[in-house]
């Protein structure tokens, strides 16, 4: 038997070396955080702050000695927002770079494309993308930090209901975020007693949406809801003003950034949208449990890169949830890390307070969203 166990031991060492690389045999190899982000292309406004956030915090954690004595190492690639690219990249992360955990996927499309790879290879993934499809139905190895588009739609309809709005004109883009948001709006509206009286679309590269809005003007809508991101919503706001439409306008969390205010200018006055608290960190009461985390993140990010965006915040949440889970797991065993991510409770992030469970791989509720209104070119809280 002695011979057998010696052979077994030899094999297991060999297996370790082969499957985990020689690093694992030594105690403190770096922890590899993999990431695939849309740092170029139409969704680069997501990927860019996400990458900056990951880089900044990994540097900071390493400066403080890392996690359990392991340094963190970021391995990232640009997907340009393309699903095929994301797929190849995640294979690369899993097979070539052999990362321990993946934080990323700026867009829902890129995340959905890679789910079966991480499921099959059993690597925990914390996505930074919005769609509810990512976590519903629950996938064992997939988590996410941003609020879902369904939550955004619910928050908006809740606010409309309070204002007595019953007929809504919907205008959305043709991207994944837009279309997914549109589907959630159409599905959710009846539950709030809201009728969608117009359902117009534009292409995200369009330069003018007056034709769609002219059609909307001819309906009896009481409000306009635009689900989109990038420059198109700013053009929509300007076109609404140009056509002299006086209806209340709602935007989605897709435009929750200073950039939107800058681009839309005066035309954004009075628009409402649901957003993470990060956007209004300054005006939150000190009693807010998120205030400290938010101000901390905001000041660090702005000191280094300029105006903060909520998207970078999602990356902060994702990274920190992963790091804390690794810390708690006390191991680089992927299954243990996964279990610990699922046990995340009361984690105060920029997006809200996360309470994950085996049935909820996001762990946020509607309270994580704040309803904001633009007044005098500034975000204000609606209450």
């Amino acid at each position: 038997m002695k011979g057998f166990s010696r052979v077994a031991a030899l094999f297991s060492v060999l297996a370790l070396v082969v499957f985990y690389g020689p690093g694992d045999a030594l105690a403190k190899r770096p922890i590899k955080i993999g990431s695939f982000l849309a740092t170029t292309g139409p969704a680069s406004f997501l990927g860019d702050p996400e990458l900056k956030t990951l880089k900044m915090y990994i540097e900071e954690i390493n400066a403080k000695g890392g996690v359990d004595g392991h340094k963190l190492e970021l391995v990232w690639y640009d997907t340009a927002g393309k699903a095929k690219a994301a797929k190849d990249i995640v294979k690369r992360l899993v097979k070539k770079d052999r990362v321990d955990v993946i934080v990323g996927g700026s867009t829902s499309g890129t995340t959905l494309a890679v789910i079966d790879i991480v499921e099959r290879n059993k690597v925990p993934l914390i996505s930074l993308a919005g769609s509810v499809k990512i976590i519903e139905p629950v996938k064992k190895w997939v988590f996410k930090t941003p609020h879902t588009d369904r939550m955004a739609a619910a928050k908006i309809f809740e606010d409309m209901k309070k204002r007595g709005i019953k007929k809504v004109a919907l205008i959305t883009g043709n991207g994944g975020f837009d279309k997914s948001g549109r589907a959630q709006c159409l599905a959710l509206a009846p539950k709030y007693g809201i009728e969608i009286v117009a359902d117009e679309q534009y292409s995200n590269s369009d330069t003018d949406m007056t034709a769609q809005l002219t059609k909307i003007r001819a309906t009896d809508a009481q409000a306009i809801l635009n689900f989109g991101f990038g420059k198109a919503p700013a053009i929509v706001m300007k076109n609404i003003k140009q056509l002299g439409i006086k209806l209340p306008v709602y935007q989605s969390h897709g435009v929750a950034s200073k950039k939107f205010l800058e681009l839309a200018g005066e035309a954004a006055e009075g628009v409402r949208l649901p957003a993470a608290a990060l956007l209004v960190a300054d005006i939150l009461p000190d009693s807010d449990p998120q205030k400290k985390v938010l101000m901390d993140y905001k000041s660090k990010y702005e000191a280094k890169y300029g105006p903060v965006s909520t998207f970078g915040g999602h990356a902060y949440d994702g990274l920190m949830i992963a790091v804390e889970a690794i810390d708690r797991a006390d191991s680089l065993d992927k299954a243990k890390i996964r279990d610990e991510i699922e046990k995340t409770k009361g984690f105060v992030g920029t997006g809200g307070i996360f309470n994950m469970s085996p049935t909820d791989h996001l762990g946020l509720d509607l309270s994580a969203f704040k309803m904001l209104e633009v007044k005098n070119g500034q975000w204000t809280l609606v209450n």
Partner: protein, 319 residues
């Protein structure tokens, strides 16, 4: 068999790579992607390089095949091979329907028309979301089986795509020294003269267009199963342009030119990722430089140079 020496050389390299570099990312993952690109580029080269036409819409046929397989297997539980067949039938009907009117056009007008066709198909993939899953695409496409083997791992796909690639290359090489191949070159050289030699040019052009589309669609179906996921951005205008670039970069009209162009454009981005923000700029600069300094294409220029240097017989331009 001198005519096919390049082909056998490539087959040998293909067979050796997995053993020289076992479980290597560049061989299995990027390599398989490159082989898919090679098939598509060789198929497009039949239409572009051989017949001298242009298509900025070939990604659409790739998409029709991929989506036929994706939709029919995930939503209707159809057998993958039946779905693949359905994709081919759909592609045949579509390409047949558009080939005659579109192929009356020439040059830039043909480019515009094929581009328009490609964009229409792409918009349909994005907009018909109840069927196609919209921009998020369709996931969970079941693996397909080849006889008793379920095609699942990267290595299995490597061999499958490798086989199809070699078959496509052989198809193209054989065609180039056959009656219809010469008819295609004739149309490229002078459509008028080809007609007066008795070549039914509208029919031949339409046939090669359909054949090219069918190979592309077939590859699309396999691609869907290999990826187990499809989304519209793999089938857009940019991919069509990339395919054309592969063909021209390697050398129009040369089968191995298409191979070289496709391999180059598949691996280049992998190596450029280290340049991060400079990647896009460098990629553009490389494309430009190749075309400026080797306007007849990478492979054609190098092969021509080599044959002149070695004076080893007469290197055929399309071997």
């Amino acid at each position: 068999m001198r005519r096919l020496s390049g082909f056998f050389g490539l087959a040998a390299v293909l067979a050796a790579l997995p053993f020289l570099f076992p479980d290597n990312y560049y061989v299995t993952v990027v390599g398989t992607t490159a082989m898919i690109h090679v098939i598509l580029a060789v198929a497009l080269n039949l239409f572009m390089g051989y017949a001298g036409q242009i298509s900025l819409g070939h990604a659409a046929f790739f998409g029709i095949g991929a989506y036929a397989s994706a939709v029919l297997t995930t939503r209707y539980g159809l057998n993958p091979w039946l779905a693949l067949g359905a994709g081919l039938v759909a592609t045949y009907l579509v390409s047949l329907a558009i080939s005659r009117p579109i192929l009356r056009l020439k040059g830039h007008y043909l480019a515009m028309a094929t581009l328009g066709f490609g964009i229409i198909v792409h918009i349909f993939l994005v907009q018909a979301d109840t069927v196609t899953g919209g921009p998020d695409g369709l996931s969970g496409i079941p693996p397909m089986s080849l006889g008793p083997v379920v095609l699942d791992t990267d290595m299995e796909w490597y061999w499958t795509m490798g086989g199809l690639m070699l078959a496509t290359i052989l198809f193209s090489l054989n065609l180039s020294v056959s009656r219809m191949g010469r008819a295609l070159f004739a149309i490229h050289g002078s459509e008028v003269a080809a007609q007066t030699m008795g070549i039914d040019t509208p029919k031949v052009k339409s046939q090669v267009f359909i054949i090219s589309a069918l190979i592309t669609s077939l590859t699309g179906s396999l691609f869907a199963h290999q990826q187990s996921f499809v989304s519209p951005d793999s089938f857009g205008f940019f991919f069509s342009v990339e395919l054309v670039t592969m063909v021209v970069l390697g050398g129009m009209g040369s089968t191995f030119g298409a191979v070289v162009g496709a391999v180059l454009l598949s691996f280049l981005p992998e190596f450029l990722t280290v340049f991060e923000d400079y990647e896009v700029m460098i990629y553009g600069a490389i494309l430009m430089s190749i075309m400026i300094f080797l306007p007849s294409g990478l492979f054609v220029a190098v092969a021509g140079f080599a044959s002149r240097r070695l004076a080893a017989g007469r290197e055929r331009r399309r071997c």
